[in-house]
Symmetry: C2
């Protein structure tokens, strides 16, 4: 149990830390958390690239992220993946794990306007960006809280990311 728990507690702890340190500036706190996630994702992407066969194209890479990788990262598969086939991907995870934690811990309903909830998805946002960037697809990731889950929108940079 401890590996997973240690990660969860460490994640919660840094969210709370940045929340306290930047009390009136949710954007700065989010940016810090996203940077940390980006670094983790970038390192992870490097390791995954070594361990796995190179995914050929953008869509295959995003599918790999949503299936195999999502289970490792967030303990479940995504509920839905949509794409416009022009570099935009929308991933919906209806019970996003790192957000569910806040429910359990804080005993509060999920609300996209709650600043702490927003901070709870900032790390993951950076994480996805870091992974995809290292795998050859620099991108912009935005996230919004929807019902009990999170919807991530990934826009792969068509110029830099094209292979």
């Amino acid at each position: 149990m401890v590996d997973e728990t240690l990660f969860d507690y460490l994640h919660m702890s840094i969210v709370e830390h940045y929340n306290n340190e930047n009390e009136n500036d949710v954007e700065t706190a989010s940016a810090y958390l996203s940077q940390i996630g980006y670094r983790v994702g970038y390192s992870l992407g490097e390791r995954l690239s070594k361990e796995n066969a190179r995914y050929r194209d953008e869509l295959d890479t995003v599918k790999y992220l949503c299936k195999e990788l999502w289970i490792c990262l967030f303990k479940r598969q995504v509920d839905n993946l949509r794409t416009n086939h022009q570099g935009v991907y929308v991933i919906h995870d209806g019970r996003f794990r790192l957000l569910q934690q806040t429910l359990t811990t804080m005993n509060k309903p999920i609300d996209s306007n709650n600043r702490l909830h927003t901070l709870y998805i900032a790390y993951s946002n950076g994480l996805l960006r870091g992974i995809l960037t290292n795998m050859g697809y620099p991108c912009r990731v935005t996230a919004e809280i929807v019902d009990f889950g999170v919807r991530f929108q990934i826009e792969v940079n068509p110029v830099v990311g094209q292979k």
Copy 2:
């Protein structure tokens, strides 16, 4: 592999982040990391207290920390535990995991004067303090790098910690 890796990368990432943010102030960076560790340890101590029978005395609790818990936290047992039986415990881990990471990642020899190495033990310092505090033994923890490992010194507060 991913749980452990994610934790390791997240730990490395926050160390580097605080190192960059507090470039000329290793004490502030250490204090932040230690606070984060403390929070994680405190939460973990709470969970462990619920899951395990209460350890009766201070020595039993420290032994539990050094045997069962150390394996979960740092993937090995401690090499040596000494005590003066007056609330001071010295734990030596000759190949401290979170420090070995820096060797692997940075390809640099361990040196107690290297500021990044010092930061790599600050989180663990706070972690131990948080665990013991929640288990009923408020304490002070200091750490120094010795050869290839770390020596932690724990001083249990004899007034507050006495049960």
